[in-house]
């Protein structure tokens, strides 16, 4: 059913550290790799090696430049995937019941055999987290690797979303954001984790940790610096004569 549950037992989600992310796109590739051959239909590409390649991805990394009022600009890499919102508009708009939010862990999923590919859920998502697969005509979205996190055939270390397992910088964390004592909740509390577009009222479960402030370059780096100013500004002697002569030519 596309009515949202009143509450979920757990709120599984991701915490993404914008301070640590180096923008390598490894999470994008591992996500595509895992999800194209596991849960649901593959993530197709169109014209992959041609002039106009395009394809379905569940996770994409943007890069933004932030220019403060004073000081140098900062480049921030910004991975974006489904935020598994508590008030997910993509679920309630679905006419067929294909889109749903799980009561047990809060994961938002699409039952692809019920999806008619009308695209309305993607229209209702402010984050661009849903993409209609052109080849299959059904909506694709992040499953929080539901086929990994409970998969007892995998070693325990691998029972996290593929993007989290892959991230070489440790910028992605996975856990229960509904439990205030979980590692991810503590991390969010400590680093003042934030919501994206809070004005949309979607109450995202995923949180983003803001970048730490950068070191500022001091005005005066050494008390002896003024004494180290260049001494000879104008060339003298032979070089001075050469300079003047060449100037006259």
């Amino acid at each position: 059913m596309t009515q949202l549950p009143q509450s979920t037992e757990r709120k599984m989600g991701l915490v993404i550290d914008l301070d640590t992310c180096v923008g390598c796109h490894a999470c994008v590739i591992s996500c595509k790799g895992w999800n194209t051959e596991n849960y649901g239909v593959p993530l197709s590409d169109q014209d992959a090696y041609g002039a106009n390649p395009s394809g379905t991805f569940l996770n994409r990394v943007h890069s933004y430049e932030v220019q403060p009022a004073e000081g140098p600009a900062q480049l921030i890499h910004f991975p974006k995937s489904c935020l598994h919102c508590e008030d997910a508009p993509c679920v309630t708009v679905c006419p067929t019941g294909a889109s749903y939010k799980r009561v047990e862990d809060g994961i938002v999923l699409v039952n692809e055999s019920d999806c008619i590919g009308c695209g309305l859920c993607a229209w209702s998502c402010p984050y661009g987290a849903r993409e209609l697969d052109v080849a299959e005509g059904v909506m694709k979205k992040c499953t929080l690797c539901v086929d990994r996190i409970y998969n007892e055939n995998l070693p325990e270390v691998d029972r996290v979303p593929s993007c989290v397992r892959t991230c070489p910088a440790g910028a992605r964390h996975f856990g229960d954001l509904g439990d205030p004592d979980s590692d991810v909740s503590k991390l969010v509390a400590e680093r003042e984790g934030m919501d994206l577009m809070p004005e949309m009222g979607t109450k995202p479960v995923n949180k983003y940790l803001p970048p730490r402030p950068k070191d500022q370059i001091e005005e005066q780096i050494d008390i002896l610096a003024p004494l180290l100013a260049p001494v000879a500004e104008e060339p003298k002697g032979f070089l001075g004569w050469l300079d003047k002569t060449l100037e006259k030519l």
Partner: protein, 295 residues
Amino acid sequence: MHPAPSVIIFTTCSGLGFGLLFFLGLGQPAVTGFVAFVFYVIAYALAVGGLLASTFHLGHPERAWKAFSQWKSSWLSREGICAVAALIVMALYALGAVFLHSHWTVLGWIGALLSLATVFTTSMIYTQLKTVPRWNMNLTPAMFLSFSLAGGALLAGAEALAPWLLAIAGAVQLAYWAQGDGAFARAGTTLGSATGLGDRGNVRAFEPPHTGTNYLLREFVHVVGRKHAQKLRVISLGLAFALPLLLILIPVSGLVVKHIFALLAVLSHLTGVVVSRWLFFAQAEHVVGLYYGKR
């Protein structure tokens, strides 16, 4: 938003068709027999034709029947139910008018109400979307309903009501544009709030996540044709309301001339509404464009 022909045809034709069914249900005009048959053929061709066009953009049209199940939360589901209910009730009413020369008044009223409800639910599919501030306004259902009633009155030949309804629809259209032009800024969503980085400084999209295009850019970040928006607004207003108003208000003698003028008025109205609907989609800005630095 991408102005897909299927949704433009759908909202235009079905709006007009259900508008005509609304008036027929109220017994306006109170026709029977062959004349009634012609009226109902036109109404059903527009309403059903529009609904069929809307299935063209589905990834899996064969599963469309599943869309009737989620009426508790989904406006799209409610629209499907209202449309089918309106078509069934009005079909029974039409049977009475065409073959039995009788008007079952209460059934007609129910059918009229359901027809109007269909147009309303269609408009709510767009109105509910907070992600598209230009649609997320009370004037959106007002526009869909006033257009449908004006077009329906024009088709039904409701001579007394049609000029008023056309004028009202034109006024609602102007108000919709006036309010819609500032809607995105008023909604307050910026790249700063989208990334959560706005309080640190001026945020600029530095590098997109992919070099090519994708579903999101194709569907939500349509920018082609915006430069002609003002001209198209004038054309739309002229064709949809001004010209039909002129054509039905000019006093003419003779039934044939009158019918030709009425036909021209309907065709002009239809074309104008198509232009308005194209603008409705093409000018609608989805907040996801912010992430791509396209707003």
